[in-house]
């Protein structure tokens, strides 16, 4: 949100900023380390997604995150939509895109056999949504020590700081707890996770460590995935790529939106100019 506010001040100037100051959310007793500074290709009014980064990010999601996190809003065809990781102008219909088709075919989709009525698994089609790792929330909770791994479709939009938050939390997960902080088994310390660790902290009560407790084991390590484009798969690179991919998943129409917006802005400025001329012309003989 703070990032958005900063962008608001830049783009909308005083108008927007004045309006938005009252919209800023409240701070609470929970603490969180300041998010790590990252620069993204999709920043600013003209920023677009880096398609190769989205492809790498999809690979990280597919090989690492998808074992626990669902992505229910995203269909295989979306991967080949304009602006998406596998968009190819040769296939304007994303359902014809061979990469999306191949990825879909690998997946096993739960379905009902139309003849027998039995529950079956069949290879996916581009129309299918990315399969969820757990049948339902109860199964997800049971398999993950009581915490449901959040759906990732809108994760970048559902957290203050968006992709920066994801990058910071993922790389901060598993930070060695400072002395005096004893966490229960299966829980990890993360300075960037908003939270309150005071109940686990035995040290100086005025120096409670910032951040919170996360149930997710540190997900990324160097060379956890092998990138197809030769980029070195460091933990840092993987985290950035998956954060960019999740930002795309949460805001897949960004490129179309910014492009449309540019044309609309030019039109509106010219239109206002014409109307102003017309206004001056009509009022030219009237003192007011």
């Amino acid at each position: 949100m703070l990032r958005k506010l900063f962008a608001a001040a830049q783009v909308a100037g005083l108008f927007g900023a004045g309006l938005l100051v009252t919209a800023s959310p409240a701070l609470s007793a929970t603490t969180q380390a300041p998010l790590k500074e990252v620069h993204w290709s999709f920043e600013g009014p003209f920023g677009m997604y880096d398609q190769e980064q989205l492809q790498r990010g999809y690979k990280v999601y597919h090989e690492v995150c998808s074992s626990c996190h669902s992505m229910k809003m995203v269909a295989f065809r979306n991967l080949a939509d304009p602006g998406g990781p596998f968009w190819n102008p040769k296939y304007p219909n994303p359902n014809d895109n061979p990469v999306a088709k191949a990825i879909a075919k690998e997946a096993q989709i739960a379905d009902i056999d139309p003849d027998s009525g039995d529950a079956i698994k069949r290879p996916g089609t581009t129309a299918d949504y990315l399969p969820s790792p757990f049948a339902n929330d109860a199964a997800a909770r049971a398999a993950n020590g009581g915490a449901v791994p959040p759906d990732m479709s809108l994760l970048a939009a559902a957290r203050e700081g968006g992709p920066q938050y994801i990058y910071s939390v993922v790389t901060g997960d598993g930070t060695p707890p400072p002395p005096g902080l004893a966490l229960p088994a299966g829980k990890f310390y993360d300075p960037w996770m908003p939270g309150d660790v005071s109940s686990f902290y035995k040290g100086d009560p005025h120096k409670i460590p910032t951040g919170g407790v996360i149930a997710m084991p540190p997900p990324l390590t160097d060379n956890r995935v092998t990138y197809d484009d030769g980029v070195k798969a460091t933990t840092d690179q993987e985290a950035k790529d998956v954060a960019a991919f999740l930002q795309w998943a949460a805001d897949p129409k960004m490129e179309q939106r910014k492009q449309t917006g540019f044309a609309v802005m030019i039109f509106l400025v010219l239109f206002s100019g014409l109307l102003y001329g017309s206004y001056r012309q009509i009022w030219r003989k009237v003192a007011h």
């Binding site: 269909a75 065809r77 939509d81 219909n93 994303p94 359902n95 003849d115 581009t126 129309a127 039109f267 010219l270 239109f271 014409l274 109307l275 001329g277 017309s278 012309q281 009509i282 003989k285």
Partner: protein
């Protein structure tokens, strides 16, 4: 419209007109009005286009179907793009009857060979919507061994060609290909 009024104003107060060129004065109003019309048209397009099928609807446009389960002389009605489709496994007698009628007088003449795929003549795949007003015809009724539409009595033969009644055209062939002898992809 606004420029007309401006004109009448100018005439009412000629003393104030000065060196203004009336043509140039009108131009600004015409340009602003034209831009407004253009702007409304640009806004109208998204509002109309949203009525078109959404991406998730379009994604379901093709369908693969295993035809090995359809016995000779049987047909199935399946849903493709939310429309009923007949897949009929034709008997040799039906095929022969359709071919024999190839040169009979018809509203929408077409040889039987144009109604099926070569090598798969026993499979007739058509949209199950009567070309009159869209009802689903029933097989085995009427005078031509094919379909009869219950709504207004259109009769189709064993190649689903219109032979009698108000419907103007043969039952429509969807785009389809045989992926194998047992699998067909519609759409």
């Amino acid at each position: 419209m606004s420029f007309k009024v401006a004109d009448s104003l100018a005439q009412a107060a000629p003393a104030m007109d000065g060196p203004d060129d009336p043509g140039r004065r009108d131009f600004i109003h015409i340009a602003a009005a034209a831009a407004a019309v253009g702007g409304v048209a640009m806004v109208a397009w998204p509002l109309i286009d949203q009525l078109n099928p959404a991406a998730d609807t379009l994604a379901l446009a093709s369908l693969e179907y295993d035809i090995s389960k359809i016995a000779l002389g049987q047909e199935v009605t399946i849903s493709w793009r939310k429309q009923p489709v007949f897949i009929r496994h034709r008997t040799p007698a039906e095929i022969a009857r359709a071919r024999a009628d190839d040169n009979a007088p018809m509203k929408d003449p077409a040889p039987d060979s144009a109604r099926v795929k070569p090598g798969h003549e026993q499979w007739l795949i058509v949209l199950a919507s009567c070309t009159h007003l869209g009802c689903v015809p029933t097989f085995g009724e009427g005078d031509y061994g094919g379909w009869l539409c219950p709504c207004h009595g259109s009769q189709y033969d064993t190649a689903a060609r219109i032979r009698k009644g108000p419907a103007p055209l043969n039952l429509v062939l969807p785009d389809y290909t045989f992926l194998s002898d047992t699998k067909v992809k519609i759409g």
